[in-house]
């Protein structure tokens, strides 16, 4: 039976991570609990962040919002400050799973989970967020674009935890998040995309269509909506590397990725025109 630790401070938490055997950070537990029930999780020590004051805070700063790791996904969706500051992020958080999962899952656990299908990373990628990683060695900043290093692997070291996410203000322009599932409507996404158009650049974050969430940008100077779609599809092409599974084969997932990006780009272009 694994031991559950409930540290009162961040220092205590990172100390535990560096000393106990085979530790695992416990955030909202929505991913962990499932693995425990299925009997395939063998952590010896859980370090639960729930009791540490301050980790549930959303702190506005100069042009950035710092989100504590234990802020729930639901709050990222509903909090007025997040919605005003980075509406695209709020929208991506809004579309995660279902209200029960969103109420329990944490913003830190969500990115630390590192799954290639997660929705919020697509928005964090285009917004160029920064992940704060803390350990006994101190706190370092990891650009989110360097955070997802491989299939279910993040830049977080074993003795580190996500202690915050810094989200820059969404620049003027248009941002859209679109996700598509391939089976039940409420299933995990089979393709998702965040598109952010600022000035002459189109930023695209892709979910579920490669072993990691992917980010690309392309020049959108002088393009009409069809031109933008073509440019976006050309830009994402080298990034598409879907893993075939029960939710679809490679060809279908590529197709769905393109349809998803196209929808997001068109919607963003419409917004720009109406702005």
């Amino acid at each position: 039976m694994p031991t559950l630790h409930r540290p009162d401070t961040l220092d205590e938490a990172v100390e535990l991570l560096s000393t106990v055997d085979n530790p695992m950070v416990y955030g909202g537990g929505t991913a962990i609990q499932i693995l425990i029930k299925q009997g395939i999780l063998f952590a010896d020590n859980f370090v639960d962040l729930a009791g540490i004051p301050g980790l549930r805070e959303i702190t506005p700063g100069a042009g950035v919002l710092t989100v504590g790791p234990m802020v729930s996904v639901r709050r990222m969706e509903t909090d007025q400050r997040v919605r005003a500051h980075a509406p695209l992020a709020a929208e991506a958080y809004h579309q995660v799973a279902n209200p029960r999962v969103r109420n329990t899952a944490s913003a830190g656990g969500n990115i630390a989970h590192g799954d290639y299908r997660l929705d919020p990373p697509t928005a964090l990628l285009v917004l160029d967020a920064t992940v704060l990683a803390s350990s006994v060695r101190g706190t370092r900043e990891i650009p989110v674009r360097e955070f997802f290093v491989d299939f279910q692997e993040t830049a977080i070291e074993h003795d580190e935890l996500v202690s915050g996410i810094r989200i820059p203000a969404q620049p003027p322009g248009a941002g859209r998040f679109v996700k598509n599932s391939s089976l039940g409507e409420n299933d995990w996404p089979c393709a998702s995309a965040s598109v952010l158009v600022t000035g002459s650049t189109m930023h695209i974050g892709l979910g579920a269509v490669a072993p990691t969430p992917r980010y690309v940008a392309c020049d959108a100077t002088g393009l009409d909506d069809q031109g933008a779609v073509d440019a976006a599809l050309a830009a994402i092409e080298p990034e598409l590397d879907p893993i075939p599974d029960v939710r679809g084969g490679v060809a279908y997932k590529r197709r769905l990725a393109r349809a998803t990006v196209e929808d997001a780009v068109r919607a963003a272009w419409k917004d720009l025109q109406h702005a």
């Binding site: 089976l183 039940g184 409507e185 029960v246 679809g248």
Partner: protein
Amino acid sequence: MLEQGWVGGRRARFDTAGRVRGLVSHVGDQPVGAAAHVAVHRSTQPHALIGAVHTEDALAMPGVYAVLTGADLYKQFGDRLLTGPAFADQPALAHEKVRYVGEPVAAVLAADLATARAATDAVWVDYDELPPVYDLADALEGSAFVHDELKPSSVFGDLRHLRGVRDTNVNYTYTLRHGDAQAAREAGAHTVTGEFWAPPTHHVPIELPCTIAWVDAGRLEMLTTTQTPSYVRQTIADLLDLPLSRVRVTTRPLGGSFGAKMYDRLEPLAAALAWTTGRKVRLVASREEAFLLTTRHGAAVTSSLTADAEGNLVSSIADVRYDTGAYADVGPRITAKSGMVTPGPYRIDTAHVRSRCVYTNKPSAGPFRGFGVPQVTWSHESLIDELAHRLGEDPYAFRRRHLLREGDEAPMGTRMHSADFVTCLDSVANAIGWFEPLERGSGRIRRGRGVAVGVKAVLTPTIANAVLQFNQDASATLLISTVDMGQGSDTIMAQIAADVLAMNSERIHVVRADTDATPYDTITAGSRSTYHTGNAVRRVAQAMRDKLIALGAQHFEVAEADVELTPEGLRSGERTVPVAELVHGHFGARGATLTAEANFTTSWAPYDKETGRSEKVTEHWFAGAIGVQLTVDTATGRVHLEHLAVAGDVGRAINPALVEQQLTGAAIMGIGHALFDQLVLDQGQLVNGTLLDYQLPSIRDLPDKLTPIVVESPHDDGPFGAKGVGETGILGIAPAIANAVRDAVGVRLTTLPLTPESIVTALENKQEEES
């Protein structure tokens, strides 16, 4: 307001609030006190001989009481360890060989569930691999055999001739021969053919299966989640070699079942363990284990339908293969009952069906809402739709022209009565606006409409009994063995009795099944309870009414014919006596009870061995129809249901609100089967057997509009003309949706589910062919 609780009234179920708020307690909620918690070590091989089972490490773990293997149980019970409704083929724990990945091999009894589960990981097994039979093709090729020989059980006498048959994976074949279908097909003008596949699926009831068993004064007692308490009692008595009087099976309200909690699930193992160890044992399946307990049959149908030059249907031919997995369960019955309706509810000159039940190395398949019929409806409703298109006819009108009418003899030889297909079809077509122009769409989103009908026989022959205790205070206690699993049977049984007794249905309590107290009832399944048990309840209420009238006649000193039972009491002319006062007067005591009992049994004519025909294969028919309007996103392949109408002929709705709920619920389940619900197996391994991956319809998959339609064409012998309705709504959902997809984008899909991927692939193939 009293009438709301009588026949035709829409009173609420008595347990709605309790179920929603968690106040109705289920088997798994019952405290067990000191008990051994059981977890099961499962096979990691699809087909293998069991060498040694190493249990020492598990036994050495603190808190572990015992570890038992199939060999241990076999030593105790011999061949009685093998149980099953059709074939005695399934051991409570694998004995000598394993036949699917996940089969129980050893049971660990421990002080708590976590310890038991942990200890199962310490058990390991030496296997000697056998060639696996992964699918129908492997099985029918016939080089490896899942069972060495067929072992018919004693339940179904008509399987006796199969005893000892060797070297086959086909455990049962049903054949229907009506006229010379092959010749008629060759002579016919238009033939459509298809290779259809409906995958295995799982029931996913919310409540997980749970069984608690213990020995009390030499009797085996059990509290379990089962739809079939009478069957389970018999099975346990046979297994333990006890008289029925020494076995007691009780239930609590089930949290859904759909066929998942029938026949031999956890009960034989629980009984064997309790009996062998003398301990009280508690078994509960985890969600992942529940996926392995039983499934719906995957079925392949190769079929054709032929019309002559005038568009008359002249020939229907089908080869049906049900994949029943490692154990036959009730597969042979499904094979026959569905095989005989494979041509569909149409006037067809000739028919030839071969329907086979096939063993493979997969989790066993058993009963599932629809009992195999949705799989063949998938074939006949796709074929007739395609034939209509081929002939340039309207698919609705073409069906309507050929549908069986009252008194018509179906291809399998039985007449239609109280099966109003035409009204069902008309009403769904009207509901979805079939006769109005359709805005088809021209860009990425295309719109279409489709219809389908379905026919199914009720389980026959069966037996129902009811005992009624009329309490002195003018309330009543009804003893039946029907299990309320959310369908509302307790509510409508009370309505039937209340109607006969002119009383408030809320004053009737229905006792939950307890084989020590409630009388024998074949089964709660196959939509049979309203008709069969409902008839027994009506009879028992009538018997009670007769008793009360006799007492009234004594009281008033008049002839019985001059006494009437009314809501106010017994009346004769101007005089009325409240029932409570009458019964009190009779016994001279408060709280006394009057007792009546009644039986209702149906019979059938077994089908002819050669032709598969019977003049009375069933007591009655279910008739249903589906109409759907949907859109297809041609870029993503996603189907969006705009309106789905589901109609069922229920003879007479005892409670129209509950009938609508059954139609609606069945339709939603069918939507899952049509669009994404399936068990995916890879070389015998279930790869999506968790709720993270297994797909069920959520609120977001529902149609924008869902219209249940109650059709009433009373049955001569039904209670107040009523028949059941639990399965009617699911039969035609998948083909109606596929037919609408065909209408929208011009592709005919024959493999379920209709995933967006399969739709875009078909669209791409079509484009290629066209260019």
